[in-house]
Assembly symmetry: C2
Homo-oligomer: 371 residues x 2
């Protein structure tokens, strides 16, 4: 193969595709990026067998078609630093030569025939989201995915689509994030059991163009996110996602409405002290209709006490303990000015929802404490 | 003690002083910051017995004098996040109470009597540098200090002052950085054997105000940098610094002058490949009066070759190998547009000096190679 290509164009595409390269594998071919030149242009592919990214560059001057696999890390870095905007890449057998101005790079690539093939996407169902919306969905849910690899299904989010509404649930058994969203033109589509790996979504999030539509397609084994000429494949995680509907109450014994920033900042200070103890326990105590008290302790001697004004309180007075870090992570992705917090007694899940704004719900389990 | 103080003022002062807290010590008192209130104001001190930072805040409303030691990490972070600009700190015995708006923090401090005393600075010699100049001196030399702790004296820079000229030398036996600078009003002062710890200088560099003068004072055991009300003490490292004068040639067999950016960028690409081999070996080959070739290899199959135009070349043709990472680190602190590189054969040190600009010199030892 032989091509002439613009350095910035190639560099940006390499940087996107590189996010599917497995940096830790000992299988050499998986540490590479495949370059494939056809009459259509240059196709770049990375594939670690769990996720894959492919992109097509059409703005390329093709002298000769062909394919090669180059070492990802080094190639991505050196292309970024080549001196001129015009790059000439020539491949002869496995010999790769890259020229730019007075720089010349020679290396031996790997056989493109040995590179893993992309997943076959048959039996597809598709729906479309705006890039900015998909990014926001991921931000609001992926933080609650478990990072403990003992239960693989909890390393994923559960996506389902019914009656034109997309529901995303992420939980690590200690907290949960749920998001519901109307999807235009998805009325006839029924999807369930789509367990999408949280780490893949975080990588995907970095390469989603804000202004493009993203087509989401599902086969039995994979989900494909198509953004123009850029495609992200993610293998669906086997196993059935836990049924969380029973722990999500919507009748409460105690309810408060509070300014999101005031509550977050006060809890952040309580968290700083609770972190010293590594338990992250904070305590919330209702104090009538106008304020609550947030507090945390470290040892017998240190204490942070915060009075937070609230907008409204209904139901019974209550004192409840919870993990301040989990609560803070949920608060950080809520964009509404006010939040509603619902309690069903000291041993039941705490339910946080934005007042207005997106149809989101966050759940944090309480701690049993003796104080 | 009891004071009222501005949150931002306290937070900035704590952040400066915190740079002398030893994060790794198991001695509890050394993990703290001492707060001492006198009629002058609030003095903050951190001291890990190797370095110490002290600062005085005069803008404080004093109700009652006194002293306490507070846990550095937690205190620095929570003060940063307190809700109101006005903070009230009350100490009663070892009980510390901090109030700001509707936040209250209670903790037990440590006895200020147990906090280590600052070094006594007797037999002082002093000179003064502008803050911006001192920062620049550190940037141009501290990177060459050894991080290997087997030879403590090489973890320091050697400072000396004679005939009104300050000389700083830093070396790790593989490369060397030397800087010479005329110091106004220092004609009568003779200083030698001042081994200043590189890590301390890096911490100092973060808190030097650009626009203030820094008074540098030396006793037998310590060097003190005084910046207004902010003081940085550093224990002088024992031992005699190696005599490097014999390896710094000033007569060369081969000399080239080259544009700093062109040379740096080309070497950076060669470095990227040489890094794959972990040796960082790059090769420089003179090619007559107009250009040089920089190259590096990885294994038998990969090669980067760079042609770099030069401004001038005198003396014998030469091919020499060296550590590209060491050379790059020197190039990155050189601010002149052109550099001069002097060689005295393939086995002798390579000497890099800026053309014009500061009186700096960088030395990199060559590699013996068979290719």
């Amino acid at each position: 193969m032989k091509i002439t290509i613009d350095r910035s164009t190639l560099s940006e595409a390499l940087s996107d595709v590189n996010k599917a390269v497995d940096g830790k594998t000992s299988i050499q071919i998986l540490t590479g990026i495949k370059l494939e030149v056809s009459d259509e242009g240059l196709t770049l592919t990375a594939n670690d067998n769990e996720k894959a990214i492919q992109t097509l560059i059409t703005e390329v001057e093709v002298t000769r078609v062909g394919a090669i696999v180059v070492p990802a890390k080094f190639f991505v870095e050196i292309v970024k630093k080549l001196p001129e905007e015009e790059i000439e890449i020539t491949v002869d057998g496995l010999q790769v030569s890259v020229k730019s101005g007075k720089s010349e790079l020679d290396l031996v690539g790997l056989d493109a025939e040995e590179f893993p093939e992309l997943p076959k996407m048959t039996v597809q169902q598709s729906f479309t989201l705006k890039g900015s919306v998909l990014k926001s969905l991921i931000k609001q849910t992926a933080f609650a995915v478990s990072t403990n690899e003992q239960t693989p299904v909890l390393n994923s989010e559960n996506w389902s689509l019914s009656n034109g509404e997309l529901t995303i649930i992420a939980t690590d058994r200690h907290r949960l994030a749920r998001l519901e969203l109307k999807v235009d033109g998805a009325d006839g589509i029924e999807l369930s059991g789509l367990n999408v790996t949280g780490k893949h979504l975080n990588e995907l999030s970095k390469i989603i163009p804000d202004n493009l539509d993203v087509e989401v397609s599902a086969s039995y084994s994979h989900v494909l996110f198509r953004m123009g000429d850029l495609m992200f494949y993610s293998r669906i995680v086997d196993g059935s996602y836990p049924d969380t509907s029973k722990i999500i109450h919507n009748k409460f014994q105690t309810e408060i409405t509070v300014n999101t920033a005031s509550f977050t900042n006060a809890l952040d200070r309580a968290y700083l002290l609770s972190r010293e103890e590594k338990t992250n326990i904070a305590k919330l105590k209702t104090m009538g209709s106008y304020s609550i008290e947030l507090s945390s302790k470290s040892g017998e001697t240190s204490k942070v006490t915060e009075q937070v004004e609230i907008s409204e309180m209904t139901g019974d007075e209550l004192t409840i303990s919870f993990n301040s870090k989990y609560m803070l992570e949920a608060l950080k992705v809520i964009e509404s000015e006010q939040i509603h917090i619902g309690f069903t007694g000291v041993m039941s899940p705490i339910i946080i929802t934005p007042v207005g704004g997106s149809k989101a719900l966050h759940l944090v389990l309480p701690y049993r404490t003796t104080t």
